[in-house]
Symmetry: C2
Subunit: 252 residues, 2 copies
């Protein structure tokens, strides 16, 4: 299970590159395979469409069980809303044994949330939560409850899968919950396609969030009560300012 | 601000490597500079000890303002409990202007939590929170409240800075809070020095957590109510099993 990071080869780790190089078969969502096309020459490719996660993971496990070296790729980190969990679920269903079965390795990657944060400035500098708004596999009630409690906890919140045609108003519902605990002027970053073609970085606030273009390639990052913006950057302080006198000087 | 990832060169991104290559000055915590020593030849190094974050960041900003190309390195991702926030705080204090001041860039990295998760299996597959137990800059009451609410939200929880000599019993307090909302047999992963010398990966549970060796180089990963272990792996299901019949077959 190989994490590709956000999509740029500059953020693909050498370990991920090496894992791809030694694989005979590469399995993945078509769009991700497209991003790493130069690395796939001579490989057998099993590409599939969105929401085909179960057959995709099953195919990877089948091929590995048949003796092939297989890379199953995920965008970002395969362990965060990626393919690592599903493969382990399949292995358990097959009574996999570590000492007797196929070798399994997770290659971590730069996750989408870190990539978005880097482009925004430093919004993730304090405790945070990652929550997916996708209710395909999780009841909306649980998602809503998590948003509510994370908001109460004053965690910075990264929203994955913030919008699809099917659930256009989940983001509006999430915003409504957040506004019960955070000021309307709480900074919000919207990052689309970080480090990929079509990248767009917007710093806005809870009040104006719904006026922004947000799609399934976007991450929405909601600041905590201390997050501030300046010069187009979104920054959550760690707390040094209250503890130390930060040095100031001109000319920077 | 350059993220080094967990410490192995195999997980250092090409973008981070390129940023180091083009920097004349490299600033960082001594231990991190040690990890990337082969990449530092011919550079001016400003190494400092732990808890010297403010002077370290200030030195980096000073040198950049004086015209040098400076890499300020962080382990993991510089945007997560790293140096990105502090630099932005210093820039604000200096009335930095994006169009007229020094150029600023954050190079994201594989964060410690992703590295730990990859070694454990797939514990982060569902919504999660990252919470630091360090009360140097954050009141313990706020940290405790965040743990409590994250536990109520059934988030997987990654605990950073789980222990130091100064606050050996914060981990015990955190465990006590967690046990109010999670079963004693909730899986817990303890990963020390992921992908570095001295790496140690332990899968245990809340009941036995305090019997494990946990230090400041460790990440403690607490499962949610669905997390399971098998064959030494720690896995949080995404929910496919309840929605699909996962294929089973022998021979894997």
């Amino acid at each position: 299970m190989v994490g590709l990071g956000p999509g740029s080869e500059a953020l693909l780790t050498p370990q991920a590159r090496a894992a791809l190089a030694k694989s005979r078969v590469v399995v993945g969502y078509r769009t991700y395979l497209e991003l790493i096309r130069p690395l796939l020459e001579g490989k057998e490719l099993l590409a599939s469409g969105m929401m085909q996660e179960v057959p995709r993971a099953a195919a990877a496990v089948e091929r590995a069980a048949a003796g092939d070296t297989v890379a199953l790729v995920s965008g970002g980190d395969p362990g965060v809303y990626g393919m690592a969990g599903l493969v382990h679920e399949l292995l358990r269903a097959r009574d996999w044994r570590r000492d007797a079965g196929i070798e399994v390795e997770v290659v971590p990657g730069v996750m989408a949330l870190n990539a978005a944060a880097a482009l925004l400035g430093a919004p993730l500098m304090h405790d945070f939560a990652a929550i997916s708004l996708s209710d395909l596999l999780t009841p909306w009630e649980l998602i809503a409850r998590r948003i509510e409690l994370a908001a109460q906890a004053d965690l910075v919140i990264g929203l994955y899968n913030p919008r699809s045609s099917r659930r256009a108003d989940r983001l509006a519902e999430a915003r409504g919950i957040l506004l019960r605990h955070r000021a309307p002027e709480t900074p919000v970053g919207v990052v689309r396609a970080a480090y990929r073609e079509g990248q767009r970085v917007v710093v806005t606030d809870l009040l104006q969030l719904l006026e922004q273009e947000v799609d399934m390639q976007s991450i929405v990052l909601v600041g905590n009560s201390q997050t501030f913006t300046f010069e187009g950057a979104m920054v959550t302080p760690r707390g040094y300012e209250s503890k130390y006198d930060l040095p100031t000087a001109q000319g920077c």
